[in-house]
Amino acid sequence: MAPAERAVVVGAGLAGLRGAEALREAGFSGSLTIVGAEPHLPYDRPPLSKHVLAGAIPAHATTLPHGLGADVDWQLGTPAAGLDRKAGTVRLADGRALPYDRLLIATGTRARPWPNPHEGRLAGVFTLRGRDDAAALRRALAAGPRRVLVIGGGFIGCEVASLCRQLGLPVTLVEPSPTPLARVLGRTIGAFIGAIHAGHGVDLRCGSEVEWLEGEGGRLVRAHCTDGSRIEAELAVVALGAVRNTEWLDGAGLSADPGGVECDGAGYVLDAEGHPDPQIAAAGDVARFPHPLYDGRRVALEHWSHAVAQAAHAGRLLAGAPPDAAYGALPTFWSTQGDLVVKSAGLTEGADAVAITQGNPADGRFIALYGRAGRCIAAVSVDSARWLPAHAEMVATGAPFPPEGAATDRPKGIAIFDPGFS
């Protein structure tokens, strides 16, 4: 590789940082520029919805450790606004053009805003994605609101709601599905976890939807639900999932849309005709790729460990590693909801059965193993992480489902449920 080569990383988050490190570790000795929309060095997001909101650590303490040296040009506070693949340049919002020979796209996602922008701008209405969001929300929680409304019962919504209870704040969680976490874990496991949160005093309103937010003098005062009910709350956290940051790629001739930037199995991005561009890779929340463990189904994963592993893969690829090795790490994530730890390995999508293989949902500690067409496809632990690695192994190898003798504490067969997807 010619030392004069230039690598550009767009997105100074977890994936951008770990991708840049991997480029260097794999021997890339050219110039390395990291472009970030936010003014901050890369920081860690998981603590934002947990110990930062709890007030245990300040938002600015989350700067990530890294192993990059002084030979990195950090361009922070200026987003990339365009990509010209013919010229080989990334255009920044301030008009500058950065030439690249190798490009890593790692622009992640942003919080999906409340659909009505006027209501979304009311004081007291928050979303949570970045460090500044978390600092602002922490201040609002510390002021002791009479009630917090959490809109959306996904992972972030459940984390925020359970954290409010830890802070002693009354909280209502509104989720259109019959249970929290229904989309990712199914209604059966979602109901078990929802019961734990309800037991801690979260006012769960499942099967209900917030229709509009009412303000007085520019401040949120209450929410109106589609079933006619009202929730008096001066603080609302909109936790409706994420939108991928791909707009800056409009006109670049890549396969990119709100569903992500399409990659091939190796990690190269695909152009509009579906051909890989060998100068460009993508990683982290923004990337969609065919997962070899799931029959090549195209997935985009919004998980910390995935961002780390896929970015390391992409960095090596851009540094010149042979593209024959497909990226296919087993998807894993964790979520800390109050003191409750939910962890998962594999992808639950398409599951036709779920078995409780360890513990007991009624005790709030268990392992759920998901099966599809007679094979294990995913496992979820609730305060039972020590049992997860063995289950992850069954998922990684596609072991037969239902498993035999998997449960050391349950020799006489295991309970099997409809997982409740649809």
Partner: protein, 81 residues
């Protein structure tokens, strides 16, 4: 800009710590090694201080080395990584 953003305070740059909580099995060895910076909440939720002071580096290093699954990553800007 500089990669050492917090050098302005005058105190020596602190450490940066992150833990891969997928790897973490909550066996708490880090909590014994550095109880002021790591603790288990509930059954298995690890709290860690992502920005310990530079003078705590020996405790943090002991915690890092004690972790059986090498889930703890530390950067020590005052010393190089």
């Amino acid at each position: 800009m500089s990669t050492r953003a917090d050098a302005s305070s005058g105190s020596p740059p602190g450490l940066r710590v992150s833990v891969d909580l997928n790897l973490c099995q909550a066996y708490a060895q880090c909590c014994y090694a550095a109880p002021r910076h790591f603790r288990i909440e509930g059954h298995e939720a690890l709290f860690y201080d992502p920005a310990p002071a530079a003078e705590d580096r020996d405790d943090i290093e002991r915690a890092r080395v004690a972790c059986p699954v090498q889930a703890i990553r530390v950067e020590d800007p005052g010393r190089g990584v």
